[in-house]
């Protein structure tokens, strides 16, 4: 056996070496160099004592006062309000789109109306943000109807844009839309299965398929950003990508990866929702969105016809201009949130995994930089989808 590394000695000292501990202990008996290093480590760590035990200051009265103040200033987002807010998003979503289209048309003629169209777009894209606020105060058990209603409301608020597109492809709009909302609400009355089992293998499969799919999605996002700079470059890259993705092998790989993502993600989803765990909730919300987005983007074509008047974005070599009709406008929040959900989902995963490899300060700096770049990418894609290009 080669010499023990410094980190192995630390694990050995704390009894955290796992199955290798016995082998390491034998090595320490046989190797004087390692034994000396271990002794030095043990001597130093053994001399690091905890702070001396101190008497607790009696601040019960001050604490009581603070708690009473907290009772008086209870959170604005109480459970009934959270549930109402969450369900209001899907209920109002169909009206956000005409509002955005009308204000965007108005903005073409009167510049001050730009602010109005931005507000309407923010309203159409608000679902995931509302879902995060609603989930923040939820419990991580789903044995109460109200809790299930809250989580389902957050789910519907998040997936409204892709679900609406999916339903619109079927022809019927409002009756089917409100029917889907009602059916989802009824699901709150049904007890949910226990989700406490281990998900390590599922996570592995999820990550592998995500890596495959990530390359494909990243290519699309980069190309769509490129459309903002130069339309000819976009068209050239798009034709190359079409050639690659329309090969039967790559097409099957993409479809399989999407299917695996949706199935494994759905199995893990409830485990990832928790009170106050912002990063986990962000991961879950972006995952929900991506699941419905990818399903509507990749699989819907198999069983739902595309409605007349909506440009087939995926097949086009010209960047789509989504402000041409009210129906096409619905795709703007759909794509913008799709890009944002992908970047957030990958970003949160990287943020949570990075501390194993990098110092905390580096991780924080990198995450600020990544957030800035991600926001720029979403804005660039949004501008190009609105038909704004530097070089036409």
């Amino acid at each position: 056996m080669s010499h023990l590394k410094d980190d192995d000695l630390v694990l050995q000292y704390y009894g955290e070496g796992g199955p290798e501990m016995l082998t390491a202990a034998r090595h320490l008996e046989a190797c004087t160099d390692c034994a000396r290093a271990y002794e030095a480590l043990a001597r130093t760590l053994g001399a690091v004592k905890p702070p001396e035990f101190v008497e607790v200051p009696d601040d019960t009265q001050a604490l009581r006062q603070l708690l009473r103040e907290q009772v008086r200033a209870q959170t604005w987002l109480t459970e009934p309000r959270a549930i109402a807010l969450a369900w209001l998003v899907p209920l109002l979503y169909p009206w956000a789109l005409p509002a955005f289209f009308a204000s965007a048309q108005l903005a073409g003629e009167q510049v001050p109306a730009v602010a109005l169209s931005v507000l309407a777009l923010l309203w159409a894209c608000a679902g995931p943000v509302v879902a995060l606020a609603v989930l923040h105060g939820t419990v991580d058990r789903f044995d109460r109807v109200l809790t299930r209603l809250r989580v389902l409301g957050a789910l519907m608020a998040t997936v409204s844009p892709p679900l609406f597109i999916l339903i619109a492809r079927g022809g019927e709009r409002l009756p089917t839309w409100y029917g889907a909302i009602a059916v989802t609400a009824v699901l709150a009355l049904v007890p949910w299965p226990n989700v406490s089992g281990p998900t390590r293998r599922l996570q592995f499969v999820h990550r592998v398929s995500a890596a495959v799919l990530g390359v494909f999605i990243l290519g699309h996002i980069v190309n769509q950003s490129l459309a903002f700079v130069s339309v000819p470059s976009y068209a050239e890259m798009r034709s190359v990508m079409r050639l690659a993705t329309q090969q039967s092998i790559s097409y099957v790989v993409i479809l399989t990866a999407v299917a695996i993502q949706i199935v494994t993600g759905a199995t893990m989803v409830l485990k990832n929702v928790g009170a106050g765990a912002f990063a986990r909730n962000l991961q879950a919300v972006s995952g929900w969105y991506l699941a419905v987005f990818l399903f509507s983007h990749v699989f819907a074509a198999f069983f739902l016809p595309r409605p007349a008047g909506v440009p087939p974005v995926a097949a086009s070599l010209v960047p789509p201009y989504l402000l041409t009709s009210a129906r096409a406008t619905a795709q703007l929040p759909y794509y913008l949130l799709g890009v944002a959900a992908f970047l957030v989902h990958v970003g949160v995963y990287a943020r949570l995994a990075a501390p194993a490899y990098l110092a905390e300060s580096s991780v924080r700096r990198l995450s600020y930089a990544a957030t800035f770049v991600g926001a720029m990418v979403v804005a660039t894609v949004g501008l190009s989808l609105c038909g704004i290009h530097i070089y036409g």
Binding site: D33, L41, P50, V54, V56, V71, A275, L352, A353
Partner: protein, 186 residues
């Protein structure tokens, strides 16, 4: 929630406050910060008390909240450089070494405690908290990972870095010619 709930909550957490305060002291390193962290943890615990319904041990639940509050506290201190003015580690090490040239006496001295404290100040919030939980509290890597909400490997890496920083500072003080470039003797 009403004032009656406040009294019930205070009665329930009362017997855990000594434990919480001493844990906070280990995680933060000074009494004022420990007091702030305990207060913040109890406010957080009260805010989310409806979620605790005896599913876990109350102490375990409070422990987790306190660890995260301590982490947030350390991070907020780092973001405010004016909040702490720790003496540079090298100065503390040199003073300690010159006051107690004999390593045995040094370890028993107040200088040593100051040196350990300064070395722990040089750690990042996660390094400090994971190391304190492992070294002082005797929590396993798995328990720390669960309390802090990061992966097992990340916990290990933070502890490794913390130990490296400690050894860099402490080994230097124990030798008459302080080493500053590495802590391994091999």
């Amino acid at each position: 929630m009403n004032d009656g709930d406040v009294e019930v909550f205070l009665a329930l957490v009362e017997r855990h406050r000594i434990y919480m305060y001493n844990l906070a002291l280990q995680l933060t390193g000074n009494e004022q910060d420990a007091k702030d962290v305990v207060q913040e943890s109890l406010l957080n615990a009260f805010r989310h008390f409806h979620r605790f319904e005896g599913r876990a041990d109350l102490r375990t639940w409070l422990h987790r909240i306190l660890v995260n509050c301590a982490l947030d506290h350390r991070r907020s201190l780092r973001r405010r450089p004016d909040a702490h003015h720790p003496q540079p580690l090298a100065d503390v090490a040199d003073t300690a070494a010159s006051n107690s040239p004999d390593p045995e006496r040094l370890v028993a001295s107040a200088d040593w405690r100051r040196l350990v404290s300064a070395a722990m100040e040089a750690m990042s919030p996660l390094e400090r908290v994971t190391f304190a939980l492992r070294h002082f509290e005797g929590k396993s890597i798995a328990e720390i990972a669960q309390a802090v909400g990061i992966g097992h490997n990340a916990v290990k890496q933070h502890i490794f870095r913390a130990v490296r920083k400690l050894r860099l500072a402490l080994d230097a003080a124990c030798t008459s010619t302080p080493k500053r470039t590495g802590w391994s003797s091999r």
